[in-house]
């Protein structure tokens, strides 16, 4: 009897911890071998056959098609530089410069990977349409209502993720966080 109870306990714990860890890893993601710069994280290996098993499981679950390494690299951020989750009802500024690339795009997504609903039907910005400062740096304001300059509409999404994709770039598997890979700062401004 004690043996049976013990066995049941073992199996219950195994199921709970094993499946729990898998669920957590595929939903939240484990940044194995990723490049983290400030609030941004990229997994350049996801665009190659050298993708790690965790990222592979996560992609199979989400159904996304990762950018191929000969195409570009995607950096994503779910929170600002101070670690606060990005809130679509707040003003959030994305400012600075990016690593060298032919061009880049920035997009805000909800949890399921859909673009954010907003009154103007605008879902992202490209580096080619940006207003820039004299030194080449830029400031983008992600906010629910129109802002002067570069405005990225966030609708009223409670939580969103920013994805900055660098296309035709040297940033890749060999890249480390450092001076050659400056990513823009993400700062939270006014909040209702």
């Amino acid at each position: 009897m004690r043996f049976l109870l013990g066995l049941l306990l073992t199996l219950a714990i195994a199921t709970f911890t094993g499946l729990g860890a898998t669920w957590y890893a595929t939903v939240h993601g484990l940044a194995l071998g990723g490049v983290t710069i400030g609030a941004w994280t990229a997994q350049p290996k996801n665009g190659t056959l050298g993708i790690d098993p965790y990222a592979r499981a996560m992609i199979a679950r989400s159904g996304e098609l990762p950018l191929g390494s000969g195409d570009g690299v995607a950096f994503s951020a779910g929170s600002d530089d101070s670690g606060q989750p990005l809130d679509g009802r707040c003003d959030v500024t994305i400012s600075g410069v990016t690593p060298q690339a032919r061009f880049w795009t920035i997009t805000a997504y909800d949890r399921r990977g859909n673009v954010l609903a907003n009154p103007v039907g605008r879902h992202g910005l490209t580096s080619m349409e940006l207003f820039r400062n004299e030194d080449g740096s830029f400031t983008i304001t992600a906010a629910p209502r129109a802002r002067p300059g570069n405005w990225l509409p966030t609708g009223e999404a409670q939580h969103y993720t920013l994805v900055l994709r660098l296309y035709d770039t040297a940033v890749g598997v060999a890249t480390r966080a450092g001076r050659e890979t400056p990513m823009p700062a993400i700062t939270r401004g006014a909040c209702p």
């Binding site: 013990g6 066995l7 306990l9 073992t10 199996l11 219950a12 714990i13 195994a14 199921t15 709970f16 911890t17 094993g18 499946l19 860890a21 898998t22 890893a25 595929t26 665009g47 190659t48 056959l49 993708i51 098993p53 965790y54 592979r56 499981a57 992609i59 199979a60 679950r61 989400s62 159904g63 996304e64 098609l65 990762p66 950018l67 191929g68 390494s69 000969g70 195409d71 032919r102 061009f103 795009t105 997009t107 997504y109 399921r112 990977g113 859909n114 673009v115 954010l116 609903a117 605008r122 879902h123 992202g124 490209t126 080619m128 349409e129 609708g155 994805v163 994709r165 296309y167 035709d168």
Partner: protein
């Protein structure tokens, strides 16, 4: 008491095995991976222009809304594939994915000498049979080898401004992928 702790420790260890096993098996059983999502909306060995992502959803998640996207779901069992893609004004890229959604090759329009990207996709076996009789033309032919007979070719073209999107989608609508029987 000791016995219970031993049972619990055994459970945690077994949990680790369960975790690793499910991580490795999951990609093979996923029913909502990119290939499964694209299967109902694409035809085999034909190029399909995907709708732009909307807040209500998109064929695959995390699509870049600045891009027009076309997909060719390929099957090389019978013959290699010929690909012809007109280059959009700003940027065009081709990414090749295996059936499991792993990117095994990607090129962009810098590799295109003219305003068209032209290449052949084949299995290693098909390539081996081509090389013998077509050595002369091999130099100016771009050949990509697919590690598996089935997979996806995703063509992405940038609209630098939202106003460019209709033009870019028009260019991608003309992209072609079609089986190319080898001449015997």
């Amino acid at each position: 008491m000791m016995a219970w702790i031993a049972w619990a420790l055994g459970g945690v260890l077994l949990g680790g095995v369960v975790h690793l096993a499910t991580i490795l098996v999951l990609p093979m059983t996923a029913s909502r991976d990119s290939f499964s999502r694209l299967e109902p909306v694409t035809a085999v060995n034909q190029m399909t222009l995907l709708p732009q992502p909307t807040p209500a959803g998109s064929v695959v998640p995390f699509m870049d809304p600045a891009f027009a996207t076309a997909v060719c779901r390929y099957d090389l069992t019978d013959a290699p594939l010929k690909l012809l893609v007109g280059v959009a004004p700003s940027y065009t890229s081709l990414t090749f994915y295996t059936r499991q959604g792993l990117a095994f090759y990607a090129i962009n329009d810098r590799a295109a000498a003219r305003r068209t990207i032209e290449l052949d996709l084949m299995t290693p076996a098909q390539r081996a049979s081509v090389q013998d009789d077509e050595e002369v033309t091999a130099a100016d032919r771009l050949i990509v080898e697919s590690p598996m007979p089935t997979g996806l070719i995703v063509v992405r073209a940038l609209a630098a401004e939202p106003g460019d999107l209709p033009l870019v989608r028009g260019i991608l609508a003309g992209a072609q992928c079609r089986p190319q029987p080898t001449q015997q």
